[in-house]
């Protein structure tokens, strides 16, 4: 420990002086040093981007050109006919509306429930709260996939089979959300609450009027995550929904894949349409997702 400290001291003293003296030399050295990592970075980025690029460009080809050889990267004659056909066929617009309803309601409720629980876990210390915290931890051990059959029976017995609320309600219990809010509220000083109490504020109004507004960044982060989880859900909606009128986008697309003869033009168009909302949400709120301390919450 002491050795690194002294080294650092020497280092900080010497480095600026050196770099100032030969700033021009350092610049060209920096360029040379940048070549290898930059190339590696962009080769990798290319490998990750290429599948999506190929997929999106293919979706713009007319159905007849999809399999014509030689394969070309760019469509000769870009068209959105695949999109139109997908949107019109198989009630795609209905799937879209269903999915948006599920995502929006589930997200609002998830954020609300998690915020309340996270605050209680962070700022009160009753024994039974600690016990409940352990219960929340336990839910990460037993994901919904493991309890498919019994969970299905419970939701059916509650009369929620074949309804959108049957998809929404079981999804609201998320350990990640509670953790995120708990971690955040632990960083809020207790003095703030004490001061409000001395001023005569009641517990729940402290929460509603001081704490909820404070936690806006966490709310936004969890909202984005929750929106993504619900948008991408597959197996649970598949089990819950029987009526094609109520299908979500992912089930609609999977039913196209399961068809005997895949109509690739429609499948590609529908797939790209289904990607758009999440990409837009992500690009708009990018900085929140990238800065999110997702170490705090772990389950998806």
């Amino acid at each position: 420990m002491t050795t690194t400290d002294t080294v650092r001291k020497v280092d900080t003293d010497s480095v600026p002086a050196v770099s100032r003296k030969r700033s021009r030399g350092a610049a060209s050295g920096g360029l040379r040093r940048a070549i290898a990592p930059t190339t590696l970075l962009w080769v990798l980025a290319g490998l990750y981007g290429l599948p999506v690029l190929w997929f999106v460009l293919s979706s713009l080809k007319p159905a007849g050109d999809l399999f014509s050889l030689p394969l070309t990267l760019f469509p000769d004659d870009p068209t959105v006919s695949g999109y139109k056909e997908a949107w019109a066929s198989a009630n795609f617009s209905g799937y879209f509306i269903n999915t948006i309803i599920v995502c929006v309601i589930a997200t609002i409720l998830t954020v609300g429930v998690s915020c309340c629980t996270g605050y209680a876990l962070a700022k009160y210390d009753n024994k039974w709260l600690k016990a409940f915290f352990l219960c929340i931890l336990a839910t990460t051990m037993l994901p919904a996939e493991v309890m498919l059959a019994p969970l299905f029976l419970v939701v059916r017995d509650l009369g929620l089979y074949n309804s959108l609320s049957g998809i929404i309600l079981p999804a609201l219990l998320t350990a990640t959300g509670c953790f995120m809010f708990r971690q955040f509220f632990l960083t809020v000083p207790d003095e703030l609450i004490e001061a409000a109490r001395i001023d005569g504020a009641r517990e729940l109004s402290i929460f509603m009027r001081i704490m909820v507004p404070l936690s806006r960044p966490i709310m936004l982060t969890l909202a984005i995550l929750s929106f993504q989880w619900r948008w991408n859900d597959y197996i649970w909606p598949l089990l819950m929904l029987n009526d094609p009128e109520k299908f979500t986008v992912q089930i609609g697309i999977q039913s196209l894949v399961g068809a005997q003869n895949i109509n690739w033009s429609v499948l590609l168009g529908g797939s790209v349409i289904s990607m758009v909302p999440l990409i837009v949400v992500f690009l708009v709120f990018q900085k929140y997702v990238m800065n999110a301390d997702i170490n705090a919450g772990l389950k998806d």
Partner: protein
């Protein structure tokens, strides 16, 4: 070490004074989650355990059959193959995802790499896509007669590879597709961890003449060990319950050779109505998950104590 320190600070921050006198407010605040927990966790867990000892089909009456379901599972070759296939998938997916995301995180935080903030989006977008779309997309790339990959292989003089009709190759395609899709998440965890390593360590190592590889092995890897543990644990649990990518990429095919555990549970429980039997299979999956978590925690503790 760190754990003890944080425990101590907890005690000093919250002296045992009047805070626990509040009962009503926290109770109201957690009511929502308590109800959800009881309805959608405790209830299904309990009846799942009970049903796993019965021949329940989802409707009508049922009988207790003791350990019959579990005994039948042991002799069920379909279940056995689903389990080994799931484990094989996990063993292939987790290291690949670990190496890729660690490599990319390192390149992204390197101060010499230009354009990192733009490049990061390329790695992140696959994580946004739903598993269904990931499956469709890779199915399109790896089509046997029409896919881009086989086209390129033939272009350079190779012969078309049976990506869909060979069971092992089609598993590998899913592994690659899933690793591609999950890099973004693991990468974010690694980036946060790498940024937290004090730069003075690297400066000291550089003064001692350590090259980038040596610095990575001796400084980065040990410093991010706790994050590595979390990444491996999360990826393992995720891989054990994978289904959607398989469903849309090759539907567990060719044939039934790549049916994984969750698909097996889905099919026995919902296609053939053997709820009791499917519940037993679920509990086997749960036991595997718990074993994985416990083993990894023990390994982690041993590493940290060293």
């Amino acid at each position: 070490m760190t754990k003890r320190a944080s425990d101590a600070s907890d005690v000093s921050v919250s002296p045992p004074r009047r805070r626990s006198k509040y009962t009503l407010a926290p109770l109201v605040l957690i009511t929502g989650n308590v109800v959800l927990f009881a309805l959608f966790f405790v209830w299904p867990a309990v009846i799942g355990l009970v049903y796993s000892f019965t021949n329940y089909t989802g409707v009508g009456s049922f009988q207790f059959v003791g350990l019959d379901n579990y005994q039948k599972l042991l002799g069920d070759s379909t279940f056995y193959s689903a389990t080994t296939r799931t484990l094989l998938y996990t063993v292939l997916f987790v290291p690949l995802n670990f190496v890729l995301s660690l490599l990319i995180a390192n390149v992204l935080v390197s101060k010499h790499a230009k354009g990192a903030s733009v490049a990061r989006i390329f790695f992140f977008i696959p994580w946004l896509l739903s598993p269904i779309i990931v499956g469709v997309l890779w199915r399109w790339l790896f089509g046997e007669n029409f896919g881009l990959v086989n086209y390129l292989i033939e272009k350079v003089g190779g012969s078309a590879v049976p990506w869909q009709s060979n069971a092992d190759l089609s598993l590998i395609v899913v592994v690659v597709a899933a690793a591609w899709a999950w890099t973004g998440f693991s990468m974010l965890l690694f980036i946060a961890a790498i940024k937290n390593v004090p730069t003075s360590y690297y400066e000291a190592a550089a003064l001692d003449g350590a090259g980038p590889w040596r610095q990575f092995i001796s400084i980065t890897l040990p410093s991010i060990a706790p994050t590595s543990f979390i990444v491996i644990l999360l990826n393992t649990i995720h891989a054990m319950k994978e289904y959607a990518v398989f469903a849309s990429l090759n539907n567990g095919g060719p044939g039934t050779s790549n049916n994984l555990l969750v698909q097996y549970i889905y099919q026995t429980g919902f296609k053939t109505g053997q709820i009791g039997y499917a519940s037993a299979a679920s509990f086997v999956l749960m036991l595997i998950l718990m074993a994985v978590a416990i083993i990894q925690m023990m390994v982690n503790r041993r590493v940290e104590n060293r």
